[in-house]
Symmetry: C2
Subunit: 243 residues, 2 copies
């Protein structure tokens, strides 16, 4: 019942060591706007619309019920992320990536993921590695991935994110997530479509096996080659998918 104070000096009375978590800072409008806009951008299929998508500060501020100030700050952040580009006196355009850029990003992703695999072989616990198989427990000979592309795609992404998390490297996790957001924006390639889905599952299992075997070099190579395979796929078959 005693209201907790922040006096740090006199231990006259031992304070109840209750788990008080430093009350939620009530995220600012700036951050709320950032999250909202980011989600909105990721949700829309920017590659589907013919003409480029533009944002309007005033319209957004009205829609979100806040002034332009926090909106502008959020826009500035999104611009740092590379999601939008603001042109003075022109407007704010949602950035569309070219096929080349997407391929480039997937390559970087491959680099980071292979490093994650490398680290995992030396630090992760066996049970955590084995747990990676669970993402694909719903698929097998009697339920082929290529027959449930959408669902498999979700499992696919979850697997990759879980894999990288196992590296316990915040940097790898963050960088990869950022890249993935951009790549996913291009949803027509649902991370390797039907024709790639078939080979995907065995490759994933092979990666897991290498991890379990603590074979650093092999795990790294398999992780890298797997994702580079996606890059090559996009590079080869992505023509018609991009404007």
């Amino acid at each position: 019942m005693p209201a907790r104070k922040q006096t740090k000096a006199p231990p006259v009375m031992a304070e109840a060591d209750i788990a008080i978590v430093r009350i939620a800072p009530e995220t600012s409008f700036k951050n709320k706007a950032y999250e909202a806009l980011k989600e909105a951008i990721l949700k829309m299929d920017i590659y589907a619309t013919p003409e480029q998508v533009m944002l309007d500060e005033r319209a957004l501020s009205e829609r979100l019920g806040v002034s332009r100030t926090p909106i502008r700050e959020a826009i500035a952040m999104l611009e740092q992320d590379g999601f939008v580009r603001t042109v003075p006196r022109r407007g704010i355009v949602v950035v569309r990536r070219t096929k080349t850029e997407i391929v480039d990003m997937i390559r970087a992703w491959a680099a980071l993921e292979s490093m994650a695999a490398r680290l995992i072989t030396t630090t992760a616990r066996k049970k955590d590695i084995t747990a990676l198989r669970d993402f694909f427990k719903d698929f097998g000979k009697d339920r082929l991935p290529q027959d449930h592309v959408e669902e498999y795609s979700k499992a696919n992404i979850a697997f990759h994110q879980a894999l990288i998390s196992l590296s316990e490297s915040p940097v790898l996790v963050d960088l990869t997530n950022d890249l993935l957001l951009h790549v996913r924006g291009y949803r027509q390639l649902t991370i390797g479509r039907k024709d790639r889905t078939a080979t995907s599952l065995p490759e994933h299992l092979a990666i897991i096996e290498a991890l379990e075997a603590r074979d650093t070099e092999l795990a790294e190579k398999r992780a890298r080659d797997h994702t580079l395979g996606l890059a090559a796929y996009v590079e080869a078959h992505g023509q018609e998918l991009f404007s």
Copy 2:
């Protein structure tokens, strides 16, 4: 003398094809502030000062001669970069990385650079690869790197950046530059100090050789191991260097 118009339709009269370059967009205060603050943060030795460095919006706006608005937008951008963290009603603190974080970043850097090396073996021109040696032309048996650590460190960084640029992958270049900015902030490790400097040069040359030989796997491995070596060094000897 005729003022150029932007009409694109009727070629009634051939327009003077004067080299008019779309007047410089006069970068905004927001961007100027961003650049200025970023440089200031990178220039100061944040790991040298005992207590954490704080920024003050009003003070900055006064110093830079602009209002708080563009300053705040710049701060928002820097926060996205991970250089500062703003605490509501508290202040803006310049982020200090822990040793673990620095090591983590160097590992990610190793991953990206090894991918760059990989790409280079398949696309770069021989003369561009060979040109990488020039960065170290001032060093040799008669002028050891460890006797000119500061100078060698500069050459070192320039080499790595040039190397990654050769990959012609904007993503790799950008991500690496970002990481490097954070790592360099910790200048007491001048990218591998004296004791590492000795082994650094031969390793660089070995990387170049592998690139010239177009040995993809070897180049990748050497690039990776070289930078991972730095990570290991920091992890082992960085104790006293961090608070």
